[in-house]
Amino acid sequence: MNEFLTVPMVKEQEEMTSDILLDMVILGAGPGGLTAGIYAGRSGLNVVILEKLFPGGQIAVSSRIDNYPGFPDGVSGTELVRGMEKQAVKFGARIVMEEAMRIGKEGTLFVVETVGHKKYKTKTIIISTGADPVKLPVPEEEKFRGRGISYCATCDAAFFKEKDVAIVGGGDTAITDALHLTRFANKVIIVHRRSELRAVKALQEEVFANPKIAFQWDSIPSHVVGDEKVDGLEIKNVKTKEKKVLKVNGIFAAIGTIPNSKIVRGVVELDERGFIKTNHNRETSVPGIFAVGDVRDTPLRQVITAAGDGAIAEFSAENYIKSMER
């Protein structure tokens, strides 16, 4: 049973007229955007954070985070970002549940338009739209998404009690998910395209010691087998080209992320993979627009780095506002 109770901090669809000039609009309330919001609020800026789905971002679906400083016993993703959300609201950032759709320019100012056609006029923008999971590369993905294929182990693990499941991937996320799944599933098979895991040592030790976990090395998924629901996953060995079917009822995927940069395509410069190009001040190619966290061209995509980016970008944005006013 889950004892935690999530108290909403969001003032949903708060009435705000577009005449008010804001200092900062932050796109996305993940760890990067919320941290920027905390700093902006404390600096007394008039700041709005737009969020399309739920405050917290990707990490809200993680069962356990062991590498965020200050939590020696680990912390759940939900708990960690709830704290960030409360802190941002406490210092005056307003979180509004709306999806940003377009960014326009009006002189030296920007206008952020939402899906509901609301407009926010602002001096600066911080893009913290993060990333989405890469879809399982099988022809049957759409048919079985939500019917056995899942991208959220914490949400859906309980439906596979005493069943066999596969998890595709070999990084930290895949391994954390695999460990979480063992609390419910009978057997968890990790399907990984290489012959060794990418996950950090500590997680590897844990996963190799778990008797419920098995491995399929050098393998990639090729088909999902089943009628109405998943009965198996066909995998192909990349070395021997051999195919075989794993009898599983659930398939969890953690094979990387794609940046949510559509909204700034054609506005700021992106790299060839779609990540926003930034400098060490987290400035994009357009003065006044900054980018943080998973959506930018960063070497490491983590909560701590997204939060760090948020602090730096907010600092740079404040300097930008000061230089505007000079």
């Binding site: 109770l5 999530t6 949400c155 439906f159």
Partner: protein
């Protein structure tokens, strides 16, 4: 039982309620005692916690009252109760048509609080277009939303369904905590949440934006 809500959270909710509540809201909770076939070893803890949550929330504001019916078959029939526990949010824009089956904990606690505010104000936060579409529906609609408390995007589906019901009394909308009702989850092939079932006919997974959610409802209505 130990208090489930932290003092700090009570303070925050109190501020929210003091600011936003207008008219009275009645929480109507259906429970059954041990010995009933609806009470098992697996769910007895859930029932206790659900009662505690309802009690603590109702104590935060004078505008919220709590009525508990225990083993009351007649009242269960009157409300159309399908499972135990059932928590109805009754007020000026609802009529036994907004319900939580199972514990409204985890992320769904925010759905409960938002429902209370919406019912107390007699207004929803749906877009004007969605409101109009909902009000124009002329046939009974039943929406089931399966969730797990650890699913962060599930409240979006629950809130949309409940608000549609607040706009039109022909619409009944229920949250169902999937862990607590494994038989139901099995019956409706729930493998991922949120899973939405409309009039037993249309099923889909995922937290769709409001307009797409309503289109799914309309696809059922138009077909009947």
């Amino acid at each position: 039982m130990e208090k489930l809500l932290k003092e700090q959270d009570v303070q925050y909710i109190k501020e929210l309620f003091d600011r936003d509540l207008v008219d009275p809201v009645e929480l109507v909770l259906f429970l059954e005692s041990e010995g009933s076939d609806k009470v098992t070893d697996a769910n007895s803890q859930y029932l206790l916690a659900t009662e505690e949550i309802a009690r603590e929330v109702s104590e935060i504001s004078d505008k919220i009252s709590l009525t508990i019916y225990k083993d009351d078959k007649e009242k269960e029939k009157e409300y159309g109760v399908k499972e135990i526990s059932a928590l109805f949010i009754q007020g000026k824009n609802t009529d036994k048509n907004v319900v939580f089956y199972g514990i409204p904990s985890g992320h769904e606690f925010s759905s409960l609080l938002e429902d209370i505010v919406n019912v107390s104000q007699g207004a929803t936060r749906l877009s004007p277009a969605s409101k109009e579409t909902a009000r124009n529906i002329k046939v009974p609609v039943e929406i089931l939303v399966f969730i797990t408390p650890t699913c962060p995007h599930c409240p979006r589906a629950v809130k949309t369904a409940h608000q549609l019901a607040m706009e039109n009394k022909l619409i009944k909308a229920a949250m169902i905590e999937a862990n607590e009702f494994p038989e139901l989850s099995k019956k409706y092939n729930v493998y991922s949440v949120p899973k939405i079932v409309i009039n037993e006919k249309v099923q889909f997974e995922g937290a769709l934006p409001e307009d797409m959610f309503i289109n799914k409802v309309l696809s059922v209505v138009d077909g009947s």
